[in-house]
């Protein structure tokens, strides 16, 4: 049975709008839809450039269009996604607003597909509270008259220059069998590496292939690795805050050369080792979570070490070897 891990990419992007898109968005808060002149055309929605030639368009050439327009083409969305403007079935349509040379794509809310046809007249249903976003128009509705949904909070107090874009995508990744095998082994406090049958290099972290010989490594290549080693190098990170950041205090990541091997475990956390005492040559031993603990997968990339939660000082004297620091990989 394949196991999956979910990983969501969620980020509130902040976009700057520049003169033309900014004016368009500001217009939306005023319940006005603006286009921009390019020769004898009026481009809607407006761009800073002519879409055919790339020529710079004059922001002073912005003109109001609509608010009503004609459906030029449409498609019915029977099962809207979470990103769509409406939670119930609707149409996406190309709407040629009165006075525009190009159609605007937006939602048309008619309840049922048979209420829609090419040539239908539609007008915007404005959100009562508008921020300067294409979603200030909830949807277009049949007819000539714009509507406002709920109490009208009026136009923006200042020109709109920025826009939020909240993207969220969830990925469901199958966990490669080698990672699951290593994870299970970690429950029994084993660290598994894999030996390439061609070059005999041993790889940690459940990579499942040798990058030198470009061969896959299966279960038959598994080897048990020792639980003690020496810190060869490290980094101490002062965390920067960002959405999803879990750290608040400086934290260490160390590189551990496992005893009697050529294997480095890179960027490992430490346990009961204050950042001030992390140094090259420090002797450490594996620290394990209790076998019954749930372990955090942190996605398919981070699950290889399983119950190995980090490295704890072993109390042995430091190793003095000037070459140690060069062992990063």
């Amino acid at each position: 049975m394949t196991r999956f891990v979910e990983n969501s990419i969620v980020f509130p992007y902040k976009r700057s709008l520049g003169p033309v898109i900014g004016a368009f968005m500001t217009g939306l808060t005023e319940q006005r839809i603006l286009g921009i002149r390019s020769g004898d055309q009026v481009i809607v929605p407006p761009l800073e450039w002519d879409p055919q030639t790339g020529a710079e368009l004059d922001p002073d050439g912005m003109v109001e269009v609509g608010p009503a327009g004609t459906v030029e083409s449409w498609t019915w969305v029977p099962a809207p996604s979470e990103q769509h403007p409406l939670g119930h079935p609707f149409a996406f349509a190309f709407i040629r607003l009165d006075g525009a040379s190009t159609p605007l794509l937006h939602a048309v809310d008619t309840g049922a597909p048979d209420a829609l046809r090419v040539g239908a007249r539609v007008a915007p249903r404005w959100r009562g509270s508008r921020v300067g976003h294409i979603g200030d128009i909830i949807a277009f509705v049949p007819g000539e008259q714009p509507e406002v949904d709920g109490p009208d909070s009026g136009p923006a107090e200042a020109p709109v220059t920025m826009m939020d874009y909240n993207a969220s995508i969830t990925y469901r990744n199958p966990v490669p069998p080698v990672l699951d095998r290593l994870r299970e082994a970690s429950r029994d406090q084993r660290i598994i590496g894999q030996r390439c049958p061609v070059c005999e290099r041993v790889y940690s972290g459940g990579r499942g292939y040798c990058p030198i010989d470009a061969v896959e490594l299966g279960e038959e290549q598994d080897v048990d690795l020792p639980h003690t080693g020496t810190i060869t190098n490290f980094t101490i990170v002062t965390p920067v805050q960002y959405p999803g950041q879990t750290e608040t205090e400086p934290f260490a990541r160390v590189f551990v050369l496992l005893d009697g091997t050529d294997v480095i475990l890179p960027y490992q956390p430490v346990v009961e080792l204050p950042v001030g005492e992390v140094r090259v040559g420090k002797r450490v031993a594996a620290a394990w979570a209790p076998p019954n603990d749930d372990i955090d997968d942190a996605g398919a990339m981070g699950g290889a070490y399983g119950h190995l939660i980090g490295w704890i000082p072993s109390g042995e004297p430091d190793v003095e070897d000037p070459d140690l620091v060069n062992r990063i990989f």
Binding site: N7, T75, P80, Q83, F92, G208, P211, I212
Partner: protein, 357 residues
């Protein structure tokens, strides 16, 4: 627009391979590439050490991770380090870069790949992110919506109808029966297809491509080396790609001018092709492309089953070139391959493969 004296080095496709095309694989993208590169090289008696240049095509947003292509370096045998590049585009464009690079004449063999696992995310949530970030992405406007609007434009213009589109789907599935790598295949009754519900009117399920995980790898060689590596190399005699403005609202959706310009620059019109492999992920796209490329009834289009039979995003275009090369390998004279990117065929690439350089 093309330099007057033009590219000079003869370059040929000498082999290619693809992974099984499946709805979902448990293999990582790197593993897919490990296998498919080996599969492309082995029949030619080549190893990774023989590769002078690599160019990989993939997409972070398909994989769901920034810098996702970096671990794919593990698949190319880049030790000692390789001359290498990566495009955030279909492998067909990786091939284009390798084709340019081989023109420089100092190296002989290149490997290009395209890879993607579409099964891990929801395409309706991912693809709006390639749309205009101010006006379209925030509406969740996905390429499926735009495909439907383009299909309607073609129907309104009398260029096609829903039955003709269903016929494309049925023919693809029928042709795919003889393609062991195809994912969607079988016999389909047109009326049964037309009785299906709309996914996005006027598109029904059969008008859409499947979700596919897969990868393809292709080996290119310069003239003399190519002739030593295999009988009947498929020489690239024309190669071009062009783009259009992004927002489909600003375009005439009943036409594909970028395809026409690319085909002209690639020399399509100089002599007839016997087969064409078009990256038409939607049935109406095949009808439009056929029309724009002026392919008559005598040209066998998408005999592989095309993107409607298997659609490994970021490798779909490269596979088209592979199938076209197969035609030349197998005794054909001249074949056309096409790849595309963006909503409503925004960017189009045309590659002509021939038995003679």
């Amino acid at each position: 627009m093309v330099a007057t004296n033009g590219p000079r080095t003869d370059i040929a496709v000498v082999g290619w391979a693809q992974t099984p095309m499946v709805r979902r694989t448990d293999l990582s993208e790197t593993q897919l590439l490990l296998r498919v590169i080996t599969a492309a090289l082995e029949p030619l008696g080549l190893t990774r050490a023989d590769i002078d240049f690599t160019c990989l095509g993939s997409c972070d947003y398909i994989t769901g991770q920034a810098f996702s292509f970096v671990s794919n370096l593990d698949a190319i045998g880049a030790w000692p380090p390789k001359r290498d590049s990566h495009v955030e585009m279909d492998g067909a464009w990786a091939l284009y870069e390798a084709w340019l690079r081989l023109q420089e004449g100092d190296i002989e063999i290149a490997v290009v790949t395209g890879s993607g696992r579409s099964s891990t995310g929801d395409p309706t949530l991912i693809y709006p992110m390639e749309m205009d970030p101010f006006y379209l992405a925030p509406l969740g406007a996905d390429p499926l919506t735009f495909a439907a609007l383009q299909a309607r434009a073609l129907i309104q213009a009398g260029i096609t109808d829903e039955r003709a589109m269903a016929e494309v789907a049925a023919r693809s599935r029928r042709d795919a029966r003889s393609n062991p790598d195809a994912q969607v295949k079988g016999d389909a009754d047109i009326d049964t297809l037309l009785a299906g519900e709309y996914v996005r009117a006027p598109l029904r399920r059969h008008d859409l491509p499947p979700i596919t995980d897969g990868a393809a790898a292709m080996v290119l060689a310069t003239g003399d080396r190519a002739r030593k590596l295999r009988e009947r190399p498929a020489f690239i005699t024309g190669f071009d790609h062009r783009t259009e403005c992004h927002n489909p609202g600003y375009r005439d959706l009943t036409d594909s001018p970028s395809t026409r310009i690319a085909a002209e620059a690639a020399g399509l019109g100089t002599s007839p092709v016997e087969v064409a492999e078009l990256q038409a992920a939607f049935t109406h796209e095949e009808i439009l492309l056929r029309r724009v490329l002026d392919l008559g009834g005598e040209v066998a289009v998408n005999r592989s089953g095309g993107a409607l039979a298997s659609n490994p995003i970021m490798a779909t275009g490269l596979a088209r070139i592979g199938y076209a090369a197969n035609h030349v390998f197998g005794g054909g004279k001249r074949a056309l391959a096409h790849s595309t990117s963006g909503p409503c065929l925004q960017q189009n690439l045309v590659c002509i493969l021939e038995e003679d350089a």
